[in-house]
């Protein structure tokens, strides 16, 4: 090799090195898919003295999470439905319909069910439950209690309830409360406990599951519809592109709030996989029937069920 070639190679190496170094010093100003992934792989450090938890890919103290999640949902409450339609291309309606139909709420023998819909602020699931009970099973006594930690989401639900046909039937109740501790709900009183696209945002999921176990009557059912993990590698690549690329952008354009939707996709990524969450439900004391979960749209969302033993 000639000296010229060596010198040339050295120059090229130096410039590469230089660029690489410079890039490393740049602070991350925006959060793209790759950056988010890298950030998610950061080692966790303890913050302050309190216990830590996740807020999307950030690691924060438990006390902060409740406040931050509250801020996110206060910010998205008014545009919640439009955004859901845009982000899921309308499929979330099919998931919710399927969820309610598979639970088949409503009694055929007069005594209605007592349903508790946690994190159901806008009433999406609650209205479907009442519709199904009334129209399919001819049950006019099933009641739904909607519990949510966020007053803005509850206000949205109350507004819709007034416009619905269940306005003064006494079949809908709204409760402001934390799913991890619901002292207002008596033990062994609920037939069906549902949580749709909510448990992901809970600070302490295990505590929420234990509380669900407490309020359910023996034989009662815990059912959870939540984003989950796609099991096909190829589909996963496409899906991740969509969720990390398009969803924050849609949030920015339509709702004028990028950060909330960035949190949304990061929290989906953080949520335990199907098998892991099934084990959590089992650990809380529930019987898990069959496989324990049902994947929807290739695992983008999944339905988990647990039954409190007699």
């Amino acid at each position: 090799m000639t000296t010229k070639a060596i010198a040339c190679g050295r120059t090229a190496w130096r410039s590469l090195h230089y660029f690489a170094k410079r890039k490393k010093c740049q602070p991350i100003v925006y959060r793209c898919f790759w950056c988010s992934i890298r950030q998610s792989q950061k080692t966790e450090e303890r913050i302050g003295d309190g216990r830590i938890t996740h807020f999307g890919f950030e690691t924060i103290s438990e006390a902060q999470k409740e406040k931050k999640v509250g801020a996110v949902f206060s910010s998205v409450a008014s545009s919640y439905d439009t955004m859901n339609d845009l982000m899921s291309l309308g499929i979330h309606r099919i998931w919710k319909d399927h969820f309610v139909r598979s639970l088949n709420p409503g009694s055929t023998s007069g005594k209605g069910w007592n349903i508790l819909d946690v994190a159901g602020g806008t009433g999406d699931i609650a209205f479907r439950m009442l519709d199904h009970a009334t129209q399919v099973n001819g049950d006019h006594s099933t009641k739904v209690t909607i519990a949510d930690i966020n007053p803005d989401m509850l206000a949205e639900g109350k507004k819709r309830a007034l416009a619905s046909k269940y306005a003064d039937t006494g079949r809908l109740h709204f409760v402001l409360g934390n799913a991890e501790s619901m002292p207002s709900m008596p033990s062994d009183s609920v037939d069906l406990y549902t949580v749709a696209f909510g448990i992901r945002n809970f600070t302490n999921k295990d505590a929420a599951l234990r509380e669900a176990f407490r309020v359910l009557r023996p034989g009662g059912v815990f059912a959870c519809l939540e984003f989950s993990h796609v099991n096909s590698t190829l589909f996963n690549a496409v899906y991740k592109r969509w969720s990390f690329g398009a969803i924050p952008l849609i949030g920015q354009l339509v709702a004028g709030d990028r950060d909330s939707y960035q949190y949304l996709v990061e929290s989906i990524e953080r949520f335990p996989a199907q098998e892991e969450f099934r084990a959590m439900i089992g650990d809380a004391g529930f019987l898990v029937p069959g496989l324990g979960y049902e994947n929807l749209s290739g695992g983008i969302a999944s339905i988990h069920r647990g039954i409190k033993p007699l």
Binding site: W34, Q41, K42, T43, N104, T108, P289, G290, E294, L310
Partner: protein, 247 residues
């Protein structure tokens, strides 16, 4: 510290086979008791629900009645994720497993394999007699696209059970043909039985006999044809060799 991940790994991740815990055995053992096929809570609901099948058919109604009867609230039918099909499957599995207690051949039984298969098949069909007026609905459920694989598997298991109990120990290709032909025979007889109004299902028994004869005839013909083709193939080979061909 920031861990660096190669670019390609973000898109492509190797898929490792998942470890699954297999319950029970993958083979049939006479020396180990078979594990109970249904968990306790499901068993309670399903067995109570079966009592409501003659009146309500294989339906959600029967399931909710069964749940209520065994002390569960209506919502507990969620324990059975496949709903009505779980009830049908319960009937199929329990009746298949009950077969070995209902029909027992003595070790020195002089009955031929054909006779044993006939006895077992008729005994299994007889287990349907209380619910036969609801069975067409069940067949309809079983033929739904999502239920077909499970139904066919159960049909194969029944066919396998009958051959096993009749003392069949074949390990050649007839293992497959025997099970396939018996499965077809059983499925058609069951369908025939749903429309059988004769006393004690005598017409079904005759139907089974005719089908068994057919199977034996076809078996003989196929076997004879196989022998014939084999004979001529080996003859042709020897002839070619005698002419000096290197085959």
């Amino acid at each position: 510290m920031r861990s660096s991940v190669p670019f390609y790994k973000l898109i492509w991740r190797p898929v490792y086979p998942r470890c699954t815990i297999r319950r029970g055995h993958s083979y049939h053992s006479e020396n180990h008791p078979q594990p109970h096929p249904f968990p306790h809570a499901q068993e309670q609901i399903l067995s109570s629900a079966m009592r409501h099948v003659p009146t309500h058919g294989f339906s959600m109604r029967a399931l909710t009645e069964g749940a209520k009867e065994s002390g569960y609230p209506e919502v507990s039918v969620q324990l059975l994720p496949r709903g009505v099909f779980d009830l049908i499957n319960y009937h199929l599995v329990t009746q298949r497993l009950a077969l070995k207690d209902r029909v027992q051949f003595t070790k020195d039984s002089k009955l031929g394999a054909g006779k044993k298969v006939r006895t077992l098949t008729l005994e299994r069909l007889r287990a349907n007699q209380d619910i036969i007026h609801q069975w067409q609905g069940a067949l309809g459920q079983m033929s739904l696209l999502g239920n077909i694989p499970a139904s066919l598997k159960e049909l194969h298991m029944l066919s396998d059970e009958i051959w096993y109990l009749s003392g069949d120990t074949s390990v050649d290709t007839s293992w497959y043909t025997k099970r396939a032909s018996l499965a077809a025979l059983y499925a058609s007889s069951e369908l025939f039985m749903t429309a059988d109004a004769s006393k004690d299902f005598a017409a079904t028994a005759e139907f089974v006999d005719r089908r068994l004869e057919d199977v034996q005839k076809v078996g003989k013909t196929v076997g004879g044809l196989g022998q014939f083709v084999g004979f001529w193939a080996s003859n042709t080979l020897h002839l070619a060799r005698s002419w000096g061909m290197r085959v």
